[in-house]
């Protein structure tokens, strides 16, 4: 060991245990890795544009009066654009945690993380933060293509944007616990794609991503399930702000936000707890590197 090297290892440096720094480290590393998949980013951008085009042509077949009855304006394109763009965004954020977990286990990096002093919640929040940022790129892209490419009538005034941004944050927080729970499933069972697919399908269906929820009123069990979905409230607030221009002064928006806060307060600790149960289980089974 040369003298220069040894001098750097003689000091007793106090560790920097900041959880914000740990979370930033995970976010930074994961984002850098993501940016190396250039082809994937280009393909996904293309897919987003194509899907908006599909909803545009679908909107030509839907009568404006059917949408007007739901209270979200008269454009099916605006209605479905918000439903799908935000559902995709949400799912991108949530899915990222379990997908990254799966790839960390497969590539052997999870053991490096697990044997380091990082707190697991910093690791999970860092993974989620990367999902939020990358997901934002696709969501803003989808909305821009819808508005500027296909003339979807959306309100982009500052008050509406501020309201929808706040709803977006609480929408993510209310679902984060679910994403962490699914990551716990990946830890134990090494695979969670069927579960995530089922959850995303249910979420889009019961929250009415593509159709007005009034259609479910004929089927009471489905209507109740719809009311239990936090995404239902997020979507309602987002449509009201971006289609009708509603702001935080609206009672409806405040009610939706309150429901999302309640879901966040309940689901986030539950998600972290279940993840820790899964983590202890793989340490008991000795399967931290199995996939």
């Amino acid at each position: 060991m040369d003298n220069q090297l040894i001098t750097y290892f003689q000091d007793n440096v106090a560790p920097d245990k900041s959880e914000v720094r740990q979370t930033w480290g995970i976010f930074w590393g994961q984002l850098k890795i993501f940016m190396t998949y250039r082809t994937w980013v280009v393909t996904d951008t293309f897919n987003t544009i194509v899907s908006i085009a599909i909803y545009y042509f679908l909107s030509l077949q839907v009568q404006p009066s059917q949408i007007a009855a739901s209270g979200y304006g008269t454009s099916y394109l605006a209605f479905s654009l918000i439903g799908i763009a935000f559902a995709n965004y949400l799912w991108f954020c949530i899915n990222r945690i379990s997908h990254s977990m799966q790839s960390e286990i497969r590539e052997g990096t999870f053991e490096t993380i697990a044997s380091s002093p990082i707190r697991m919640r910093s690791y999970l929040f860092g993974q989620a933060a990367r999902g939020f940022l990358v997901g934002l790129y696709y969501m803003v892209g989808a909305l821009a293509v819808g508005v500027y490419g296909f003339n979807a009538p959306l309100h982009f005034e500052p008050a509406a944007l501020l309201t929808s941004s706040l709803v977006l944050v609480f929408m993510v927080l209310s679902h984060l616990g679910l994403g962490i729970f699914i990551a716990g499933i990946v830890l134990v069972y090494k695979q969670a794609d069927p579960v995530t697919f089922m959850v995303s399908l249910f979420m889009e269906f019961f929250a009415g991503a593509l159709f007005p929820l009034q259609l479910l009123s004929k089927y009471p069990p489905l209507a109740i399930a719809s009311e239990l979905m936090p995404y239902t409230y997020a979507l309602d607030a987002l449509r009201k702000s971006l289609i009708q221009g509603a702001t935080l002064a609206s009672q409806d928006i405040l009610f939706d936000l309150a429901v999302l806060v309640v879901y966040a307060v309940i689901l986030l600790p539950l998600g972290l707890w279940s993840f820790n149960v899964g983590y202890d289980r793989i340490r008991t089974e000795g399967t931290t590197s199995s996939y």
């Binding site: 740990q22 890795i33 002093p117």
Partner: protein, 327 residues
């Protein structure tokens, strides 16, 4: 930190099996002194990796526990993780982020290992330099050779400057020159920076060269533990003395040696170049060397050298594991 950096107390790990549980580590007690360079050997499936992963807090023991740096691996896992640096060389670099560069892998690791940024920057540059990675430091790790990946893993293990290093096959996949440099580094880390090092390797020469004490684990149990001399004694009740003579007439010398009462048997007596070699098992080494020397001097034989023959670790390892496997 107390006198022992690593202490296992009846540590046991059982995995569920089809008919009966598979015992990977079986009530193992091990004490590794602070600042010691300790070797752990064992055939494949002996329980080495399970034991190390328990010490890294990656696997929970079924029974017993261990203390690493004075912290309990179950109750104080977070503290243990701050104390150790773990290298799993056998993964051949699998445990790195292949889509990050060496520099970014180290930066990432500095974040999760709580190394302050200004310190990390200096250490990363010094480590890249030392491990000869500077030229390729900004290329993605996926394009590196296995040896380069192992060097990045070594750099990553050292980056947080932990007092205890668990080095599982640190030189696997390295070219000869880098392996030699790495062995020197391990010695320096131990001797100059007083790191406690637990080393496992299939390269028995490496363990023999580096480690003060060695434990041999087989079917989950420590079957032998001690210094090289102590382990050699376990397989050889009698010690071996080698005599090198000038001239090619060694048969008469062999007869003289054979007649000495502390010589059990002559195991080798053969010509070697322009001289002769005789090897004899003796019951008391301290008396045997001067008495053989005197006897041969009395017969006017010219002695080139006379010394004890120590068995290599490889021989010790094979004999002990064979003896253990056959009950």
């Amino acid at each position: 930190m107390n006198d022992h950096s690593i202490e296992t107390i009846g540590i046991t790990k059982e995995y569920p099996g089809k008919e009966k549980p598979l015992v990977a580590v079986n009530h193992t007690n091990l004490l590794i002194r602070s600042g010691e360079l300790f070797g752990l050997l064992g055939p494949n499936g002996a329980g080495k990796t399970t034991l190390i992963k328990m010490l890294c807090t990656l696997i929970l023991p079924t029974e017993g526990t261990a203390k690493v740096g004075g912290y309990d691996i179950v109750k104080e896992a977070a503290k243990v993780r701050e104390t150790i640096g773990w290298l799993h060389g056998e993964t051949g670099g699998r445990a790195l982020y292949w889509r990050l560069s060496a520099r970014d892998n180290l930066r990432f690791y500095a974040y999760i290992q709580n190394v302050p940024s200004d310190v990390a920057r200096k250490r990363i540059e010094a480590l890249l330099e030392f491990f000869d990675l500077k030229r390729e430091a900004d290329s993605l790790v996926k394009d590196y050779s296995t040896g380069m990946k192992v060097r990045v893993m070594l750099a990553r293990t050292l980056l947080p400057n932990p007092p205890i290093l668990l080095l599982d096959e640190p030189t696997v996949g390295l070219d000869a020159q880098t392996a030699i440099e790495t062995r020197k580094l391990i010695l320096t880390l131990n001797r100059e920076l007083h790191k406690t090092i637990l080393l496992t390797s299939h390269n028995l020469y490496e363990v023999e060269k580096l480690c003060e004490r060695v434990a041999i684990i087989n079917t989950g149990k420590i079957v032998a533990l001690g210094t090289m001399d102590q382990l050699a004694h376990l397989i050889h009740e009698a010690k071996t003395v080698e005599v090198r003579l000038e001239g090619t007439d060694g048969e008469a010398a062999t007869q003289i040696i054979q007649q000495l009462d502390l010589v059990r048997r002559v195991v080798v007596s053969e010509r070697s170049g322009d001289g002769w070699i005789i090897r004899a098992e003796v019951s008391d080494l301290d008396s045997a060397i001067p008495r053989i020397a005197n006897a041969l001097a009395g017969g006017n034989f010219r002695i080139r050298g006379i010394s004890e023959i120590r068995p290599h670790l490889e021989e010790i390892f094979v004999k002990i594991t064979e003896r253990n496997n056959h009950g």
